[in-house]
Symmetry: C2
Subunit: 339 residues, 2 copies
């Protein structure tokens, strides 16, 4: 069996009280006693039982992360990198990370509820926020600690981190307009997702500025996947709108769109320009390499986790709201408008 406080106490003829406090470095324990206890603990190979400690402290030292996924073939590079960021920060702060995947909706909400009510986690990281996000509404109602990556519509009285996607998209449009593009199509994620709204907002704002110069915009909704981007681009290409540039709201869809365009014999970056958003590793190695907006997703993961840890520790965060400024990554998927 595992070594307990009692074993140490017995060995050195002290009580568990003393041992416990010595090991936790309380300053009401004599230095020699501390020394004695520590040596005995080392010798016996003592390791505290996390469960017992958690029960007593009424804390789980665990952070929950429930990834919203559609269907089993879930392979979003976004999440794996975000996960790594959150996980490493959590580990560094002494927290465990409890991960689940649930499709948005009923099951997802149940997962949040049961994790809270059965005392499995101390706080949640929310990812990929939705406009009127039921997760955030619920956590707020329960007064349960959380931090999110992404904002919501309405009151923002919780710690969050987000990228200024609107500004990122504005930069994309400005870049494209500088290359002469006026007829631009945009492939959007479901508009219930907040980041989709921000990105679309940036696109619209950019196009508004182009209105006097004949700017035209067509927005088509898709589903964030590569396949979705492919299909949607095909729809766009069949359409009479015939854009000179396609602005996809994430890299995965942009890469899917590239396939569709290339399949029709067009050259990406010459006949049609394509942009993405996120700067996933794949974007650098697509063919041609994808012009996109950088989103440091690993760092965002660590920062979101840090925000939550601050809340859990009861520290007053200097900054509860972090908005990162994006940067445009110019590669070869865009070129001047063909005449």
């Amino acid at each position: 069996m595992a070594v307990t406080l009692k074993d140490i106490a017995k060995k050195i003829g002290k009580t568990t009280t003393t041992v416990s406090r010595a090991l936790n470095d309380y300053d009401d324990i004599g230095p020699e006693t501390k020394e004695l206890v520590r040596n005995a603990a080392d010798e016996l190979g003592y390791i505290p039982n996390t469960l017992a400690r958690r029960l007593q402290k009424r804390r789980t030292d665990t952070i929950g992360l429930i990834l919203p996924t559609f269907g089993p073939r879930f392979s979003d590079p976004f999440f794996s990198e975000f996960l790594a960021g959150v996980g490493n920060k959590a580990a560094a702060g002494g927290y465990d990370l409890l991960v689940s995947t649930r499709p948005p909706g009923e099951q997802e909400m149940q997962a949040y509820q049961s994790n809270i009510l059965s005392h499995r986690v101390d706080g949640f990281i929310i990812v990929r926020t939705r406009a009127d996000d039921p997760r955030i509404n619920y956590l707020r109602k329960m007064n349960f600690p959380f931090a999110s990556f992404g904002r919501v519509e309405g009151v923002l009285d919780f710690p969050y981190i987000d990228e200024d996607s609107a500004n990122g998209m504005l930069r994309v449009i400005e870049y494209l307009s500088g290359l002469g593009h006026r007829r631009i199509a945009c492939i959007s994620p479901p508009l219930e997702l907040m980041f989709a709204r921000h990105r679309i907002k940036g696109v619209k704002e950019g196009m508004d500025r182009l209105r006097s110069q004949g700017g035209e915009l067509l927005i088509v909704e898709s589903d964030l996947t590569q396949r979705g981007g492919y299909q949607t681009a095909n729809i766009l290409l069949d359409n009479s709108f015939s854009p000179t540039a396609i602005v996809a709201c994430n890299d995965l869809m942009a890469i899917g769109a590239m396939s569709a365009v290339q399949e029709r014999g067009f050259v990406v970056g010459k006949d049609i320009s394509i942009t993405g958003f996120d700067n996933i590793p794949m974007a650098e190695h697509s063919h041609p390499p994808l012009t996109t907006v950088n989103q440091p997703i690993y760092q965002i993961g660590t920062m979101a986790c840090e925000l939550l840890i601050q809340v859990l520790r009861g520290e007053v965060a200097e900054k509860q709201e972090i908005i990162l400024q994006p940067s445009l990554i110019v590669r070869q998927s865009c070129g001047p408008t063909p005449e």
Copy 2:
């Protein structure tokens, strides 16, 4: 405060013993009493405290999964899908999933140790096995429950699931040889990884059969990433060997290799054929779509988790060792040898 057994007991004038057993449906509790207890529990909104139960049961109902990652930019589609498989199965079986990411080596081993010794998990899922795997050696030594995705060299006295990668690669080589290819280059992962060995073994076996027909093989080691595949393909293309086909040991490297080949103006599937392995979603949408070997990674995740759960429950699994037979997915990245 949360409702406890004691609250229910007090309310109906019974003891916590009775309440506990009624809720756990022990058959030594009278049916009316059970009814009474259940109603009171519902009324008060009782939810058992997981921590307390776990402490008492000396079980954590938690499965550990430590993903081996190199560097922070960790975005392997492989892992996210595997994770989803494991996670969903764990949830279905009433287990929590504790996830960490660690670079292989010292830190990784410490994570295993501390998770075991501080009683955080009941068992581990090991992924991406290595030839003489320190994780498996350790868990075996500690007699700690685990199941793995992947085999090791030597004794296989633990539950595992694996794909018959050797056979998969054999099929690839046969397919390529059928198209007339004889000078074949292979981009390999680090050979310390078991699946690399199996895949290379299959490649060699296939080439051995081609020896009488002038088959020539060049193997170059890379690192599983898209970037690695790109760089390694460039090295290959600079080499005098000039292969007519490149067999990459995973899809990510294959896609990277495609970029390199295309950058030099070659047409993939005509001038040079390329194959991958894994059939990640991206493979379908690369340009051209990638010929590869299917590996149902989501299902593998669920099955690995199931193996572990059987061990944890003390059930005797009918099958402790599962080898899946792969299937070749033919797409457009291969063609007949150019003369």
